[in-house]
Each structure stands twice: as C-alpha cells, then as structure tokens.
Point group: C2
Chain length 161, copies 2
Amino acid sequence: MPSIMEAEKKGILGTDVVCQIGIVCHDLEKTGKAYAEFFGMECPPVSESGDPERVKAVFNGEPSDAGCRMMFFELGNIQIELIQPDEKPSVWRNDLESKGEGLHHIAFIVKDMDGKLKKLDAMGIALRQKGDYANNSGCYAYVDARDTLKLTLELLENYAD
Amino acid sequence: MPSIMEAEKKGILGTDVVCQIGIVCHDLEKTGKAYAEFFGMECPPVSESGDPERVKAVFNGEPSDAGCRMMFFELGNIQIELIQPDEKPSVWRNDLESKGEGLHHIAFIVKDMDGKLKKLDAMGIALRQKGDYANNSGCYAYVDARDTLKLTLELLENYAD
C-alpha cells in the first residue's frame, strides 16, 4: 500500500491506476460474446445496475431511474466493462446516441468521493451522473473532463476498502 | 514471464494486457498540460511520428505521409498516449474529424505482427493503418474492430523484445 504522502503525489484523484475501460454498446450479449472469443475467456455473467430506489441515481442534477446491463472482463492489468443502457436518459444512453458505440470512460478507485467531487467541480470538472452500487457496497460518479482531459472519468468508491 | 502455453490461452493476440489508451486531440500542448496537472506529474516531451520515408505508413491500403505529434503519460498500470494528428488523412485525423476529441484506441504488444494481421483479417478485423516507429525499433498497426469489439485496436511490435 502506498503511504498517504505517496498517494498525494498522484494528483487530484490520489491515484494514477486506471482500473477500468468502459465501452457502450447496443447489444450486450453479442458484443460480450465477441470479447470472450477474442480474449479466449468465458463470457462473464450479466450484471444489472439495480433497483432505482436503492441506486438513487442522479443524472444532470435530477433524480433518474435510468439503468443499464453490464459485463465485466478481467484482462491482465485492467477491467473492460461493456454497458448496454436502457432507453432512459443517462450518461450511457446520451453518449451512445451522440457518439455511437465505443469507448466511453476510464475509471479510478478513489477514497472520499464527496471531497473528490467538490475538488473536481472547483476545477471545472462537473458531475454528470452518480449513484450507488446495486448492492450498496459503494458508489460511482461520472465527471465531465471532456473539455480538459477530452473524456469522461468515472470515480468508484468501495466502502469496504 | 508467462510460458508460450499460457500466452496462447490469451486469445487471438496472445496477450490480455492493455499497454496503452490512445486519445486524439486538437492541441497537444494544452491537453498535455491538463493531464500533467491532473495526475501531478511532469509534462512528458513531445514525440513525432517521424520521417515518412522511414515510417512507410499505409492508410486504407495506400501509402501515406500523414503524421502526428504525441505525448506519453506513464500512469500506474497503463500508458496514456495523447495524439495530435496533422491535416493529412490518417486513422487519427479521420477519427478526430468524425467523432471529435477523445478516446481513440486501446493497444497491445504482440509478436509476429504479420501473422496476427492475417489472422485478424480472416476474422473480419481489417487493417486500417500501419507503419514503422520513427527509429525503426518496431512497428504498429491499427485494426478495425469497430463492428465486433466496438473499437479500434492498435498492435505494437517491439523488435528488441
């Protein structure tokens, strides 16, 4: 484990490890099968974003009951997340419609999500969407670094860490 | 080091390690400065794709003298490559114009580039662009997995490996 001093060197997020690359698609099963064949692995189970009452998602500042279905591929050094959004407006659905299928975000595991979101907002990197995990073991937030870093970042906080 | 048997398990490419995430942008210095500040690191030097006579790039099946300027950020588990293409048609310029700034590719280090390209082509994953490194120590190829994996893959072969 790095010390707090070392962690603080790793910039705004306190980490420089990209834990996940997110990809949006129209057909999760078809794209998942293509990934499994390409990387010579089993197709992982489908995960669901979960009950909107528990997830309490907020998109563009408003409560949202949008959801998605996901598959997680554990590659050698990083996780690839495939996401098929439902039809309701969300960071996934809106980006899928405006940019098409493809690379969507890179993700980092952080501590102190609220503190990080405040610091990012003060830098002009605003919240796009946030919510809790389906099993309430953590939370996620997508922030809009499209002007500065040219992409959407996802922050993940796992309460057990 | 994994054994050859282990490597062969890792699917079509012989590896499941994503070595690089590529991002296209309009202004390399400005975007590079934003990355350096965000991750609390020095801005890396600018690299150039190099002399077209040495690089011998091929784009969409035709010889090409398109080039780009790049910065490489070494994060904890992966490299981020920022790319500012010149104005000539290339995998970078065309994608920047059609999709805008942002995530462009993920890359893998492979052996036997020609064999890999043949195998991918037979699967319907065709070559988009290839060329040699500026210092001729290796070569790269972008292949079109947009239909299947929903992205462009880059293969890198380093002759010294």
